[in-house]
Amino acid sequence: MTTTNTRDLLKEVKDIVTQCDRCGTCLTVCPLFGVKDVEAASARGKNNIARAVVEGGFKPDAGVLEAMNFCLLCRTCIDNCPSKVKTDEAMIALRQYISDRQGGPGVKYRALGVMMKKRNLVKFSAGALKVVRKLGLGGLVPFGMAPAPFTREQYLSRFAGPAALAGEPPAARGAVVENAKVAYFQGCGMRMMFPEAVADTLAVLGTVSTPRQVDNVCCGLPHLAHGLREDFLALAKENISLFAADDIVVSDCASCAGTLKHFGAYLADDPEWQEAAKAFSAKVMSLSEYLVKAGYKPRQRSSAKMTFHEPCHLGRGQGIKKEPRQLLGAAGDFVEMAGADTCCGGAGSFHTDYPEIAAAILDKKRANIEKSGADIVVSECPVCLVQMNKAALKSGGRFKVMHISQVL
């Protein structure tokens, strides 16, 4: 998986997609097929287009690339597939193969890739978005990328619970953090769009450890997903070096944490990096995973009725399902909504590439949030939060949206 050698990529695709026996189970769960019921939109459809490419039935051209891009990488199909066909990996590999052949992934993804590769550009965007939000101009930024924040202060004043005003001291340190050096991995999405939540994450982490703040680079998922594997690997190596001295790396972005956990696999064939990558991935935790392991107790219990939107990269991606719910149960009146683990349609830049499809998927999510009667929908991924904010807006403010660190 470490090389962009095109033949290896095709073999990678082939090994995955030939496992599909076209039973059609995925058609019943694929969120995209749920809103666009054309075979090519489904996991089965795309896996078999990919197989036809491998076997010479289709030229690996821009049309096929577009078909492969039409995937949320949400892994719902894999969860349900009797043969566990790894559709997301097949899509990523074939995107890479076609990108390599045509000299790049196309202007849009290349521009995004360049931006996300540079710390300074990410920081500049974060600053610009902050100014935009301060001026109350968030609505002018397309795709809801500058959501109006609902801050922790507002949350506490509205849903003041018994402990909220008492200023209860932070809980004692949990076992996992005894003497462990904890570092915070700040994702680009969190940095750019949810600086208030980042501050709350650091505050929460600060109660159970002394998190080291690192000037990390992008996790590389946007690059990996869209045909820029070399960039992804370069970013991975830089991040591995940056966190070499830490014992635990915590991210409050599910996609970042999920990606970081895969560095070991993606660099497994690289003799120079394999060990460091494996060691790095082993110390990555998502925020809720870490907090539960550290025995964290929420700073207050509020009266808010809260539900959890489970990010694909948290639940299916990392198997972290119980932890956020456990934390929310301690922080307020937690209620499980129907379809909590269904993709919200955000999926990295998918919601900007296919806004209407993403909106149709989100409408189902919004209906489930409304049905749950929750005051607040909580999540642990910035792109999900962007989507949730759009849903909140459309629901006419029937619920608020918060990052998990803001309610704990």
Partner: protein, 462 residues
């Protein structure tokens, strides 16, 4: 073959947004869940997606006028190529006809459109305490139209029968676009030929089913699941026969051979005693818990008499579901063992089950091919799966000979070519062996009468 003027007519018939003709889109309607190679692709020239009977009728009138092949398709979860548009033309995708038109509780019947998924139909009826028993393994994705067209079976056939046992009537669009209805809600009905039965299992070759009237039965009040492990496959079969003869009719009795169990073990981290040669999963149902306990203890007693090595009686619905998940995931788990899996579907008299399994194992040895066997031992329907690599020409040759002999073995013990998957494309060449030349000629005469231009699902069955 379909010129622009005809395309325009089709668009007018169903709405332009319900017609697909780009290459990547057409390819998606070229395959099903059979082992027919993906390439060269059997692309339809056009995919047409009607929403009403009137639209289906309009499409067929156009197709018949111009002699365009029409292949009906639901979820394409079939295993014999039934929905593959092998001669191009129109893929008539019925998956948008998803209305449950009426649940008639007093007559205990339900009327549905063909695109309704089997599981949705089941759940809809179950909510009212009514039971639609047929449960093909693909019931989560398969559509009822496809179930009727293939006369799908399932695991509950031993007690409750197959799809055709529940079809009371149909609305069918004939090849030229005329619409007929067959059967009805009257239980006794000998008015004219039994056209309902004729269309059921006709694999889309005689007409397009646009409505299905199904009878329902009261939902069994309680169910439970047992898992039995045997050191001998013969004894596993003998246990099932013993149960049936003793009057304990299980809702289903599924048998898996050693290779099948091992395939599932790979997926599910099942601890497997190497001495186990067969696993039987049994569902029992009844009026109350006492009835279940009685059935379970009778089954256990019979199984002990045949040397069962492990009896597991589910203690909770979750455990029952866990046991069934093993069976439901089996087909794909076996498929994952080799580059190609030729999963067959033969059906034999119940008492010939052990004999045909023995013959299949001999065939496996003769051609040096792993063949996993599992199936519905309660009703004699089994699925031998030849695990192979068809990209290897020498192996492919052996595989084809082995499959020929498997069908010959089924016929030799008084069985038939298909229990529940249909003939489709994959078993065409054996049909005369099963029915005889005159038998096939009779099928063709029926076909000629109903579809004189031969537009409906051509090159299937024979």
């Amino acid at each position: 073959m379909i010129n622009e003027a005809i395309r325009e007519k089709l668009r007018a018939a169903v709405g332009a947004e319900n017609v697909l003709d780009k290459d990547l889109d057409r390819f998606g309607y070229s395959y099903d869940s059979s082992f027919i190679p993906l390439l060269p692709a059997n692309n339809p020239d056009i995919v047409v997606r009607p929403s009403t009977t009137a639209e289906v009728s309009a499409v067929l009138a156009i197709a018949n006028e111009h002699g365009i092949p029409v292949t009906a398709r639901g979820a394409a979860s079939g295993r014999t190529g039934g929905s593959i548009p092998v001669r191009g033309g129109i893929s008539l995708s019925l998956d948008r006809m998803t209305k449950i038109i009426e649940l008639d509780e007093r007559n205990m019947m339900v009327t549905v459109e063909p695109g309704v998924r089997t599981i949705d139909l089941y759940n809809h009826c179950a909510a009212k305490g009514l039971f639609y028993p047929p449960d093909p393994a693909s019931w989560k994705m398969s559509t009822i139209g496809g179930n009727v067209a293939e006369n799908a079976g399932g695991m509950r056939a031993v007690k409750y029968g197959v799809t055709s046992n529940y079809v009371m009537g149909l609305e069918v669009v004939l090849a030229d676009g005329r619409v007929i209805t067959t059967g009805g809600k009257a239980i006794k009905n000998v008015t004219g030929y039994n056209m309902t039965s004729l269309f059921t299992g006709s694999e889309g070759t005689l007409g397009i089913i646009t409505k299905v009237l199904l009878r329902l039965i009261p939902m069994p009040k309680v169910r439970n699941t047992l898992q039995l492990m045997f050191p001998s496959l013969d004894d596993a079969c003998a246990t099932i026969h013993g149960m049936l003869q003793a009057g304990v009719v299980p809702a289903s009795a599924e048998l898996m051979d050693k290779m099948s169990i091992q395939a599932v073990a790979r997926h599910r981290k099942l601890d497997l005693d190497q001495a186990i040669e067969a696993c039987v999963i049994i569902e029992i149902d009844g009026e109350d818990e006492a009835a279940l306990v009685k059935q379970a203890s009778m089954i256990e007693q019979i199984a002990r008499g045949f040397g069962v090595s492990e009896v597991r009686i589910a203690a909770s619905p979750k455990e029952a579901e866990d046991i069934w998940a093993i069976r439901r995931g089996l087909s794909s788990a076996v498929g994952a063992l080799a580059p190609t899996r030729l999963g067959e579907d033969i059906s034999v008299p119940r008492d010939a089950f052990p004999e045909v399994v023995r013959r299949i194992k001999k065939i496996a040895e003769k051609y040096n091919l792993p063949i996993a066997v599992y199936g519905h031992a309660g009703d004699g329907n089994l699925h031998p799966s030849v695990l192979c690599d068809l990209d290897n020409p020498e192996e492919a040759e052996r595989v084809h000979k082995a499959v020929d002999e498997i069908f010959a073995a089924a016929l030799a013990v008084g069985g038939t070519l298909s229990g529940e998957h249909g003939i489709g494309m994959t078993k065409r060449r054996y049909i005369a062996d099963a029915l005889g030349e005159d038998g096939v000629a009779a099928l063709k005469a029926v076909k000629q009468a109903l579809d004189p231009k031969g537009i409906l699902n051509p090159d299937k069955i024979w």
